[in-house]
Symmetry: C2
Subunit: 345 residues, 2 copies
């Protein structure tokens, strides 16, 4: 009979088809690449599902798949993006993010060193955000059948009692607040991809916003709506909010923080910074009376130092977002039709 | 000023990059392809996260990404697989599956009609399984950057009280039960892909097993472990269980149900049916005294008609699975090293 210990497995430097087959090489990948970084009491169980205690109340559930290209860009990589993105999607619903899943699709031939760097970033981002990655899955497809790595993260967390955030809550008079400069993430990815000279000076804003979200909600539970303006940027998010609440939104162009480098790159590429994806920014719609307090709390937070009041909810032009320019004219901020910057997240 | 209604969007027949950009074409895809089939009170909210009530207790959370090729095969398609797979991963942990997320990665150029057929199947599978798809995400990558469509589903459900299923629970004397014939799914996909003549006669077993799982647990809450033997098949699953519990498993080859067509195709391809993926089969490890009752319950269920007792847990050879052949000899059933049938799920 064979010895109980399986024969040693050849040490691969790249992802093999067999790493996704559920056999010994799958176990090897888990043991060598995933567990050293992600290890926790849930993953240690090695069951097909994670189990945790919940208390009665409302729970939030969100999912996002990340296909950003390139995988590494100034200020972050696909792993950080995947963790922070789902953390933020939960937080903007008034939930405290707790548990994440991670589903990987790997291309045969991907360097294991790259995968490990991504996994390491995921672990670090999860630690910073105070969440645990409790279950996962890895599939491998043949070379040429996916672009290096795609990562899905889904997440759950409990919804704080007494918090009612919804895209249908906007009221005329509300203040529109953004947590900082816009367009940084999309432009960091884009300029890296295109090899533009701005590259070194533009950095992704990817960050977990749950800390700042809950710092605000602790003091101002009556926030009307929160969103993280990712794909489609501030333009898409505000159009969705205006449309869902049947109100108008009026923005003050001179109040919107845009970094000089981002503005320059956007002009060069012919892109409106309002339509560029952000991965560490927050849009809040708050009753006017609360706006000063909200701004103060945000500015005291590392991810909200440049928070600004950028506009108002109005009764006019329901469903539309209108921008007042520094020259006194007004222009419509349209819902972007589609793709200006593909695969930005 | 523009009219409030956006201009009509050209009617596309295939997936465009802009369908994944978070703008108007993303909304159009959601409205035209996803919502008609998946619509429910959660998705209607159009928020970044779904919120639902939970009661105190344990909750299970699981994730899986599906990359099966081809997308359509006898007996099912990637959509059914994606729903049933995550439902089953929750159920085998003793959880009642409730809410699913769906994350799509689409290749530019995929026919919208194909996507719609897949989404329709997901909706139908969810209905059959009694779960709701409550949140989703769609990304699009350029032609050639993924193979048509990958789907991640994650799911949550509450864990039934008094149920303690774990891969570490196996005890010598326990009965090993399988819910029916093995290898059907993997062989259905493989023979379709290879154009083998068996193709028309082998059909995937993809099915939601939560109904049968809970029918068993209602009567026999003391089941020790349950697994759905997917990637790596019965061989991988039983090796994992034996290893986790530090026990041996002895199988009776003549008791293992394998369809004639599957056996033939497996012989032709030189593959052991024990290593082939199943997507609608259940492995149960139960105390010997309960085995008769468990078999009777399973055989009364549509997905367990051919349930069979196929082996025993033993004190000998801990961590190893051993097969008794009809000729009285014994052979080791090894943990598969890796890939025999890539992209089967």
């Amino acid at each position: 009979m064979h010895p109980v210990c399986p024969a040693p497995i050849l040490s691969h430097e790249t992802v093999q088809m067999a790493h996704g087959a559920g056999g010994r090489l799958s176990q090897e990948l888990t043991k060598r690449v995933f567990m050293p970084h992600l290890r926790n009491t849930f993953l240690d169980q090695m069951d097909d599902q994670a189990k945790f205690e919940v208390v009665s109340g409302r729970m939030a559930f969100s999912t996002d798949t990340y296909v950003v290209s390139p995988l590494f860009f100034p200020g972050g990589n696909i792993g950080e993006l995947a963790v922070n993105g789902t953390v933020n999607d939960l937080a903007v619903g008034g939930a405290v993010p707790q548990y994440l899943s991670a589903g990987f699709v790997l291309e045969e031939g991907l360097a294991l060193a790259e995968l490990e760097e991504i996994v390491r970033s995921m672990a670090e981002s999860a630690r910073k955000a105070g969440v645990m990655i409790v279950c996962g899955d890895t599939k491998v497809v043949q070379k040429g059948q996916c672009d290096k790595i795609f990562i899905n993260t889904s997440g759950v967390g409990y919804v704080r009692k007494g918090i009612e955030l919804s895209c249908r809550n906007l009221k005329a008079g509300d203040a529109v607040i953004v947590s900082g400069s816009i367009g940084d993430h999309g432009m960091a990815v884009m300029t890296t991809r295109e090899g533009l000279s701005f590259q070194s000076r533009i950095s992704s804003d990817t960050a977990a916003l749950n800390g700042m979200v809950h710092a605000v909600l602790d003091v101002v539970p009556g926030v009307h709506a929160m969103r993280d303006p990712t794909r489609g940027g501030v333009a898409a998010t505000l159009n969705e909010l205006a449309s869902s609440s049947s109100v108008g939104i009026e923005l003050d162009e001179s109040a919107i923080p845009v970094r000089e480098e981002v503005r320059g790159a956007a002009e060069l590429l012919g892109i409106d910074p309002l339509t560029i994806a952000n991965e560490g920014k927050l849009l809040l719609i708050v009753p006017e009376a609360d706006s000063g307090e909200v701004l103060a709390i945000m500015r005291a937070h590392e991810h909200g130092r440049d928070a600004a009041l950028i506009g108002r909810v109005v009764d006019d032009h329901p469903g539309m977002v209108v921008m007042r320019t520094p020259f006194g004219s007004r222009r419509i901020v349209e819902m972007p039709l589609g793709e200006q910057l593909p695969r930005i997240c």
